[in-house]
């Protein structure tokens, strides 16, 4: 197989990896905020259910979680789902897992805010929602950016776990070509692509951090 064919196949896989990456971020960043608010809720049940959820998401391998989401409907409910469900299962698994991690990052950021910010907002007459949306959240985002960047970079590499339920992302493609060609070149090329992907994302996040550096 020609190198250009290998690269083309890998790039096709990379497109799927990118879709997993983008969809996971799109859903897990807002969901993580909701989970964080639930985690800090005054309601005993809400708080503890969220705590258990986070504990399971962090305490078990993502690979296993993907398998549960994919095979669970069949083994638990006897549902037979279409082939398209593979990709959906990957997104559900990633979003649930990453929302839990993001939630803890948000929580750390929110809890690190000085109480004086809330008090100033209260005395000025801001409602609770206004205080959170206008005063607290924008500052929290700045504080948590470095941790979020870390998580995002991990996510790029984690997309390769989708191979466990045979979603044809880049790593799956590399593995298939490598075994059919008896060559390590596809792996090396895939590694390079992951690195470039990460490099671009890290560069972009640095830009975002700079954008927030207008205040301390």
């Amino acid at each position: 197989m020609d190198l250009s064919v290998i690269l083309l196949k890998l790039l096709e896989g990379l497109l799927v990896s990118f879709q997993i990456f983008a969809l996971t971020l799109t859903f897990s960043l807002p969901l993580g905020l909701l989970v964080a608010l639930g985690r800090m809720s005054r309601n005993f049940f809400v708080r503890n259910i969220i705590k258990i959820y986070i504990s399971i998401m962090r305490g078990t391998p993502l690979m296993l979680q993907l398998m549960v989401v994919y095979f669970g409907p069949y083994y638990i409910f006897g549902w037979t789902l279409s082939r398209d469900y593979r990709f959906i299962a990957v997104i559900i698994g990633f979003v649930l897992n990453y929302a839990a991690y993001f939630a803890e990052i948000y929580r750390g950021g929110i809890e690190s805010m000085p109480v004086g910010q809330y008090e100033a907002a209260k005395v000025l007459g801001y409602s609770k929602t206004q205080t959170f949306m206008r005063i607290i959240l924008p500052q929290v985002i700045k504080r948590i950016l470095p941790s979020v960047t870390n998580e995002i970079i991990t996510l790029i590499k984690d997309t390769s776990l989708a191979f466990v339920i045979s979603v044809s992302e880049m790593f799956t493609a590399a593995k298939a070509i490598a075994s059919s060609q008896a060559s390590v070149v596809p792996y090396l090329a895939a590694g390079l692509f992951y690195y470039i992907f990460n490099y671009i994302v890290a560069f972009a996040m640095e830009g975002v951090e700079k954008k927030f550096s207008y205040y301390r």
Partner: protein, 254 residues
């Protein structure tokens, strides 16, 4: 009708009685200074009056509108949140450590609440903001961020922020305690200017000479009660209580 009326206020923190029994009244245009040693309950009193702390018992009313009162069963009750929201707009508070919003520019710190809380138009809020910044001598700083300002400038912005909502009474919680002596002067001057405009103010302070100059009523607190109160001349120059005398003498030794 007094602007602020406090009756038999009590406040505990985990069984520690920080405010034992405090009653006071502030009339329109009056400048009241509250002095006393650390831990005497001065700041807690201010925080109760500004709804940052809940009282255990007692009554607080602004212009005869009750914030907290004793109901007919003898229970200490807070007014309906809707009423509290209205009453909240009667007062402003200047914090010891400013508590400016660091992600907002100076101007935005001042106009954000008028726009989003009082629903003023941006133009109207900007006009108020420019006016106040000019008054604070900070017209050239409207686009700066709090972290680019000195402590004294930050405190002036926070005073402007409080004034932008046009409160009837302004509370100051040790407004100069986080500032070095050089910067203290500029804040005291601003407060003096406000006093000259008959702004009603309640100031918790450790600046004795300032309290004497600017206040027309001085309250000396210790151990959660008012030990002595009166005109500056009565309290600072001719204190009757031994506790006040001891406190003041230590101040003048330094």
């Amino acid at each position: 009708m007094p602007l602020l009326k406090i009756r038999n206020l009590q406040k505990n923190f985990d069984g520690l009685e920080v405010i034992k029994d405090i009653s006071l009244e502030v009339e329109q245009g009056q400048v009241v200074a509250i002095i006393g040693p650390s831990g005497s309950g001065k700041s807690t009193l201010l925080r109760c009056a500004t709804l940052l702390e809940r009282v255990d018992s007692g009554e607080i009313a602004y212009m005869d509108e009750p914030v907290v009162y004793t109901d007919k069963h003898g229970r200490t009750t807070y007014a309906h949140p809707k009423d509290l929201k209205r009453i909240q707009s009667y007062f402003g508070l200047v914090f010891q450590n400013f508590n400016l919003f660091p992600h907002f520019s100076v101007m935005k710190n001042i106009i954000d609440a008028p726009i989003h809380v009082q629903k003023k138009s941006k133009e109207e809020a900007l006009a108020i903001g420019r006016d106040l910044l000019a008054k604070m001598g900070l017209s050239d700083k409207e686009n700066a961020y709090p972290c680019q300002l000195s402590g004294g400038q930050q405190q002036r912005v926070s005073i402007a922020r409080a004034l932008a909502l046009n409160p009837k009474i302004l509370f100051f919680d040790e407004p100069t305690s986080a500032l070095d002596p050089e910067l203290t002067g500029e804040i005291l001057r601003v407060i003096k200017d406000l006093a000259a405009e008959h702004m009603t103010m309640v100031i918790v302070t450790h600046e004795m000479s300032f309290a004497r100059d600017v206040a027309d009523h001085i309250i000396f607190m210790d151990g959660g009660v008012i030990v002595e109160e009166g005109t500056p001349d009565q309290v600072i120059n001719n204190p009757r209580s031994d506790r006040t005398k001891a406190f003041l003498s230590r101040f003048y030794q330094i």
